[in-house]
Amino acid sequence: MTTLTETPETSAARETPARRRRRVDRLPYLLLLPCLVIIGVLLLWPLGQVVAMSFYRLNNVRQLRGDREWPWVGLANYVEILGDPFFRTVLRNTVLFAAANVLLTMVLGTLVGLLLNRLGRKMAAFVASCVMLAWATPALTGTIVWKWIFDDTSGLVTWLFNALPDGLSQSLFGHSDWTGYGWFNSPLLFFSILTLVVVWHSFPFIAVSVLAGLKSVPSELHEAARVDGAGPWKVFWKVTFPLLRPVFGILIVLSTIWDFKVFTQQFVLAGGTQDRPTFMLSIYSYAEAFSPPPKYGLGASIAVILTLILLVVTGLYVRMVLKQEEDA
């Protein structure tokens, strides 16, 4: 059918759908056109534009509207950012936060996935439904509820700490009255609570994905390993993990990408963009660009740095997915 010279028998098949499809090969491009235009205009063009903007000094919204000149400053924005000691704090916050969150999310998610696989049917369904609730809750309202749980007067955590025996609380923390305690005041505490919020929100996806992976592993393999006397730890690392390596790879990359650009949770927990010691790259970029006085060029250069970091991670992700599509 694919040869151009046809015998009389094959030319009789000329009107089959397959044949017809070959004739109208402009159709797929027409179908793709709206999608390509939208992705081009709303995602790819802005991506190029943010790079372009990072080379200009843009400190006035009128410049954006096109009413004023765009002074070209070359790499000055990058020089300013990279030379600023504060940028190093922000970068350190971002990397440490992402690393801690990816690690904790992966560990907790994997453990819960393994647990769901071992539980009885009804129990597994119940726990899975509860886990889904955490996943389904919007980042915004999830964060607001955690903020309420850590409220410094009537919050549950404040009450719990107040309920500790005074002597114990005194010897452990140096004070026994927790009412009015600033849970979000020190950067370390802030990041710990932010980690709690983010891990709470993201471990369900890992758990469900790991569970789906486990279901695809023939249970005989585990049984055989167990019969051979391997403990749970050994079974996981020698049987489960190697089999699910591609799944883990993708989950780690996705988590890394997500945890590098956490914004909503931080914005809500910090109550805006004023809490500079806890800045990470995405909120730093936003605050530079939109908090008065606006510095769109400077904000753009931070956004470019964030994008470049994620580009490396994305490269890994695409390679993994494509490899699996080939293997499939």
Binding site: P17, L44, V50, V127, T141, V145, S154, V247, V268, T307
Partner: protein
């Protein structure tokens, strides 16, 4: 034998105990949000919190639904703004994604693989990095401070995943059905409308729910592109009116509950497909 049975019993107990702990950790905040929203203020601000509302009340719901947050604007108006934006996004993105998914799932053409790779890559673009250039675009288009600025933005954000997800549904429709219709003399438009569309409809619903959640939950762009308070979407209104200090937690939790419930319901309907969409072939069921 009995000792082994006892050992298995202890193990089962430990597993179930761990399961309950996980369930508690995951579901508690959602429970606490709803429970708080139903408590009278005296119970919310008491020094010993009750696990359940002793005298459940809808006063906080009444307050946010009827009270004016700013003169003439109630919670319902923000709800409506969010609904307009989310539904418009869903309709546009569903239509465009269906066309593109059909192209990818039904045709072999030169740039097919490149298009699929591009879909994967653009999903990884950090949207947070696009606030500044999209703000520029919205300013230039004269769309600043309008709901269409958000519809346009969310359309771009939801489209790549929608196409990625829908292409599986289109591919799952047996080709023979279309070929049979073609033999019966149906043209392409008829095949698309009468055969493909009805069979892909459930997948389209799933994809639409995903786009809906994307648009409904989004905060940063809505915060940046909308200036007039009466045009705020719900997330912006919530951070603006309720995110300040000395918060009235009763109304905040009532608003959060109203914001969250539709998402949870929709989410539970489609979560299975989200996993397979995101892990994209890594998991073979």
């Amino acid at each position: 034998m009995t000792r082994r049975a006892a050992g298995a019993g202890v193990k089962r107990l430990a597993l179930n105990g761990a399961g309950l702990l996980v369930a508690l950790f995951a579901a508690f905040p959602v429970y606490w949000m709803i429970a708080t929203s139903l408590k009278p203020s005296s119970e919310i601000f008491s020094s010993t919190p009750r696990p359940m509302p002793a005298e459940p009340t809808l006063e906080h719901y009444r307050q946010i639904l009827t009270g004016n947050l700013i003169p003439g604007v109630t919670f319902a108006d923000f709800f409506l703004n969010s609904a307009i934006v989310a539904v418009s996004t869903v309709l546009l993105s569903g239509l465009v994604a269906l066309l593109a998914a059909t192209a990818v799932a039904r045709f072999r053409f030169t740039l097919r693989t490149s298009f699929l790779i591009m879909l994967l890559v653009v999903q990884m673009i950090p949207l947070e990095a696009l606030v500044i250039p999209l703000f520029l675009m919205i300013q230039r288009l004269g769309l600043y401070n309008t709901l269409p600025s958000l519809i346009l933005t969310y359309l771009g954000f939801s489209l790549p995943f929608a196409v990625w997800m829908l292409r599986g549904f289109v591919a799952a429709v047996p080709r023979e059905l279309e070929e049979a219709a073609a033999i019966d003399g149906a043209n392409r438009a008829q095949i698309f409308r009468r055969i493909l569309f009805p069979l892909v409809a459930p997948g389209l619903v799933a994809t639409s729910i995903f786009s809906f959640i994307t648009a409904w939950n989004e905060l940063i762009f809505a915060l940046t592109f909308i200036n007039d308070q009466e045009r705020y979407t719900l997330p912006v209104a919530m951070t603006f009116f309720f995110g300040r200090d000395d918060t009235a937690w009763g109304p905040v939790m009532a608003a959060s509950t109203l914001f969250t419930l539709p998402v949870i319901v929709f989410f539970l309907l489609v979560q299975r497909r989200m996993v397979s969409g995101l892990v994209a072939g890594a998991v073979k069921g």
